[in-house]
Symmetry: C2
Subunit: 329 residues, 2 copies
């Protein structure tokens, strides 16, 4: 039996490259060539937490140009090294968006809502939430409750369609009170840096005409059956995480407590440009990751690689994400 | 702003657990509860290798009881520790099955064929290949070429339906010549241990009535346009891997060169019970992983966690798998 050798394999590859497209061995079969699809499979993933059925619904990926400002407190070459370590390109950082739908058996609850297809000019490969939700067999009309983690556009824009209609027309909308207080305050908008003003304006675009119907909750309260809110500020002033609890099982939806885990789980002190209070964000991130490592808590991160759930382990310099193994139901 | 504390979070979880299902805050909305689905999303995943479109098609997962015989040369507690490290249960090992369909633009090529739903008594959560292929929009009638890595049932049974019909009726079937020579030889079957006889019988069930149409190739040859076979014996006497090459891109389908990577990529000297020549399998495994780490080769492993592609890095005691980040096309 010939054992595989490096030389054999390289020779094989070189031969193929040199020969170009060679005829198939043997006679040509009758089958017609199927057209190239060009389409990815549906981005949804199901799992159980106790009696609850959870569906992770992907809203695409933002390939953000990686510059020396993206991580505020680390040199660009170190950031690029962290990406090279996991075989990612160093010029663009993939930032996936993945929200959760929790079916309690009697209530359907959306934890964040995606971009609503309204960030396509910035992120052309985003905006797949509605299609993935449909593929998952979930009619937005059947969603009872929306729970928002914070007011960044990739989390709240999906409350509405591009035409300003409610995407989930029957859902009660719940937002963190401190987040509302901060972003809807005109004085805060007035003194904000120019770069932040669009986020204030966007929050008004989404919420102004439905303000009277938006419920504001204080972090620490239960916001839906079995779903507890947990203050986790820093990323934004009212950024909130959520535990999902059913039977004796639970998980922790940490929203934007960390962005791409290959950077910010592995290096929890690094501060992303999106973290408004970078120091507080890092402190809360380390608290969450430390506790999750100790308690073996299942985490879902909005910007983790789809299906965006996993566990963390401690490492010498921080933590590492162990993604869940994709599994049948 | 209240910072997240361990105490806060534990208190929140405890409150939820104690309270059971509490009413939703605010008034009940009009939406009807959607039924629990109980179904996983389609298990297929697309990516490009040069001009080729590759579709990974999952055939489910075998949850195999983990006993002290599964890894021949490591104590069970060490194997269990390796699973605990990645938050997997220690009593059953998840062994996913994921084959590849390569669309060259003019030919559709299946690299292995799944279980054909014929291992359901052993692995009730297997047999989803046909449904996932349909979800991917691929009609088995349009597959031109089947290329087999080795004759274990989870790789060849999908050539046929449960009723012994050809599942890919127009496909030319290509198998490694040394694999055919070994498994179809009655003398080998006669002297094989009892536990191995069903594998010989199964190969006859699949191939006996179509033997004249089965093409046998010598490892090292091109078996389809851009697809080179590479001898990688040990797992079985004729086990074969394949490079897929298009333009200046390539990947390496390593089939069963490693089983579950959390065990055998991390500990490449460990020998799975399925490895017929454990020593040779380990030698070839280390060669493949070492070269892949050095060359940053994209690998697809039939038993890797879906979508079953990734890169490997060297570690102190072996290698580690860095799974691809799920991405839109």
């Amino acid at each position: 039996m010939t054992a595989l050798s490096r030389r054999t394999l390289l020779a094989a590859s070189a031969a193929t490259a040199a020969a170009g497209v060679l005829p198939v061995l043997g006679s040509a079969p009758a089958g017609a060539a199927a057209p190239v699809s060009g389409k990815q499979g549906p981005g949804y993933y199901r799992f159980k937490i106790g009696d609850y059925e959870v569906t992770a619904v992907n809203d695409g990926t933002w390939y953000r140009a990686l510059d020396d400002k993206f991580v505020r407190n680390a040199p660009l070459p170190e950031v690029q090294k962290a990406l090279t370590d996991v075989f990612l390109p160093t010029d663009k950082l993939p930032i996936p968006f993945t929200a959760l739908i929790v079916n309690t058996g009697s209530k359907l609850i959306a934890l964040d809502t995606g971009t609503g297809g309204q960030l396509a000019s910035m992120a052309p490969q985003s905006g797949t939430f509605a299609a993935n939700l449909a593929a998952a067999g979930i009619d937005p009309k059947t969603v009872d409750t929306i729970v928002i983690s914070h007011f960044h556009p990739d989390h709240i824009n999906g409350i509405k369609t591009k035409d300003n209609a409610l995407f989930f027309p029957n859902a009660e909308i719940n937002v963190p009170a401190p987040e509302w207080t901060f972003w809807m305050d005109d004085a805060n908008m007035g003194k904000a840096p120019e770069a932040a003003k669009p986020t204030f304006m966007n929050a008004r675009r989404i919420f102004a005409d439905i303000a009277k119907d938006v419920k504001r909750f204080e972090p620490g309260k239960e916001v839906a059956p079995g779903i507890m809110s947990v203050a986790a500020a820093g990323h934004t002033p009212g950024h909130t995480a959520f535990t999902v609890n059913s039977g004796n099982r639970s998980m922790f939806y940490i929203a934007d407590t960390t962005n791409n885990p290959y950077l910010f789980v592995r290096n929890p002190d690094w501060q992303a440009i999106f973290d408004m209070d970078g120091g507080m964000a890092a402190e809360n991130r380390k608290r969450v990751l430390d506790r999750a490592a100790a308690d073996k808590t299942l985490l879902h991160g909005y910007h983790f690689p789809f299906p965006s759930s996993g566990y963390v382990t401690r490492t010498a310099k921080g933590y590492d994400l162990v993604p869940v193994m994709w599994a049948p139901m």
